[in-house]
Symmetry: C2
Subunit: 359 residues, 2 copies
């Protein structure tokens, strides 16, 4: 393990001091910002996430604000998902595609106000692409990175913790819906969403002076719930089949190839013609591996006999399921159940393709 060299360029969040103090042992960099990656260790963190509740600094989910009379038009150009029926309180998972139909990002987006979108970015500065589009295309919009930093509450005790801080009404929030809830004489946008299968909320903090009070309120209110600082957990997210942009997909992969077929709903977007004509010969699948599983810091080739049939894109050892859990981009000619070999930097590992993820 080598260190992360810190600098002004790799941006701190409103909670980095608190995250350091809480014992963060490893960070990654996400949208040029610090994202905690482990505290007590990925396994211990995962077990705790599944039984209690964690507070995650996910400020790196930068919010691109698109505002102006053409905001809806521009947003619909970016994605094959039909956005026309979005409810005022709805969050939508929005695959963004380039001219070739490739995935440029897979944000969650919602409209905090009419004519205004917040696009909650995965890693990769999609803001620049949208700004470039708006610049050259003459759209009547302003595009900028909003001064908003999200904080997540994740884990089975999330409802209890959130209710203690935001009031019982937050329990009624439906999945992928958002609302405004009271905090210290103001209101915060809270959505029922987040990057785990354990349930929880994301809070869009809009003022730096509220960041530490919110963090402290959550830890004060949750002491008896065993609340801890946490982060998106590599093991839990693979067990649940949650994709990571940059790991499991990039701009050479279409929505069809990464299992997002159901979001390809209209072809009058930038990638539409390519998606309409698209024939896909590969797809993301779950891959069960023998251990030990090294750090998956590169794509691992997958073979059956002499044939290369794909690559593993993310992997970790699961204590809960007693196997290596992995995601792979696989040639469609191979079916679930196929016995394969995964070639890691520590040598070959036996593995088996699966139709479903573990959770």
């Amino acid at each position: 393990m080598s260190a992360l060299a810190r600098s002004n360029r790799v941006r701190r969040t409103w909670w980095t001091s608190a995250v350091d103090a809480a014992g963060c042992s490893a960070y990654t960099v996400y949208n040029r910002m610090m994202l905690p990656a482990a505290f007590a260790g990925t396994d211990v963190d995962a077990a705790h996430l599944k039984r209690a509740v964690q507070v995650w600094d996910v400020a790196c989910e930068r919010q691109v604000e698109i505002t102006g009379p053409d905001a809806d038009t521009l947003m619909q150009m970016l994605t094959p998902r039909d956005l026309s029926a979005i409810k005022p309180d709805q969050c939508m998972y929005v695959p963004i595609c380039n001219r070739s139909g490739g995935m440029l990002n897979d944000p969650v987006a919602f409209k905090p106000r009419p004519d205004t979108w917040w696009v909650s970015l995965a890693d990769g500065e999609l803001r620049l692409w949208i700004e470039g589009m708006a610049e050259a295309g003459g759209y009547g919009v302003t595009v900028f990175e909003a001064d908003v930093q999200p904080l997540a509450i994740q884990g089975p005790k999330s409802d209890e913790l959130a209710a203690r801080v935001f009031g019982d009404a937050v329990r009624d929030l439906r999945f992928f819906r958002w609302g405004r809830f009271p905090f210290r004489g103001t209101e915060m946008i809270v959505s029922r969403s987040g990057y785990s299968k354990q349930g929880g909320f994301e809070i869009y903090v809009e003022r730096q002076e509220l960041a530490a009070p919110l963090w402290n309120a959550l830890f004060d209110a949750g002491a008896d719930l065993d609340v801890r600082a946490g982060c998106p957990n590599l093991v839990e997210r693979i067990e649940g089949g949650m994709l990571s942009y940059g790991n499991d997909m990039s701009d050479v992969d279409t929505p069809f190839e990464v299992g997002l077929d159901k979001y390809v709903q209209r072809f009058d977007c930038i990638g539409g013609a390519a998606l309409e004509a698209h024939v896909s010969d590969r797809r993301l699948m779950a891959v069960e591996m023998e251990g030990p599983v090294p750090v998956c810091d590169r794509a691992w080739p997958i073979t059956e006999g002499d044939t290369r049939l794909g690559v593993v894109t993310s992997a970790a050892w699961s204590q809960e399921f007693g196997c290596g859990v992995a995601i792979g981009m696989i040639d469609r000619r191979w079916d679930a159940g196929t016995e394969v070999v995964v070639h890691t930097q520590d040598g070959p590992k036996r593995a088996r393709l699966r139709e479903t993820f573990w959770r």
Copy 2:
């Protein structure tokens, strides 16, 4: 110091294994790619860089290739620098500006072929902005990340080392010029450039299978020159006043504010109107600080009495000059020589504004 969590998303380079083996102790992430930040320590690394020669893995300087009949037109839209007189073998430092005149990136660019630009990016995915521009603006260009990874040779013995590997002709290469030089029966693009004041070259490696042979050839040829693996050095680059995009400037700073006035040569570019109308009330300056100097992982406020007059954006302790060396964005009403206080996370430090950098 916390660890850097590695993953497939934070891309390895063709040399990451060699860099690890050479004792890299800290990395940063630059354009979603691993960039070494320290080996024996920034001070030891700096002293060695100034007396010998180092090989730097700067693959993270991603090359955006813009190719097609409108490549020149699009490039000139991006920058206020006049590109019309570029020589076939010339590299140009090219400030890229948005509609507000703000710096989107400060790459070095050259034309490996007619109608084709390679734009060697600083941190920040400018490629997405150019792609978005090309998409919405209907330019006759293709924009993509070329499969090219630069390797740098830096230090006073760079000419000797480069000549041993590429032949004596490389000694005649002028500053910011490039040429093709023989290597193992093929040719490589080599420029006299790089992110230090010690002199040297950057080699644009275009085939992965040549990456390890080149690395090994440089270390074999340079053993008696005390060649070592190195990296852009925080101390040396501040001493020399070399700016770092993301640290010392961002898209809220204009070329006038970051000392790049001389490159504002025409106003028929995207940022032209803003730059023509621009009145700047601040500028980057050198700042000499008392020590010890903590890690500058955030902007440090600078005050004189009760007045805040700017921020330090980069800082380090210089063994050579026996002081803290720093770069700050300073209100123009304050002159060199002003005694100020810099407010670091470790408390206030006495400091003084300087007109010039140390080298």
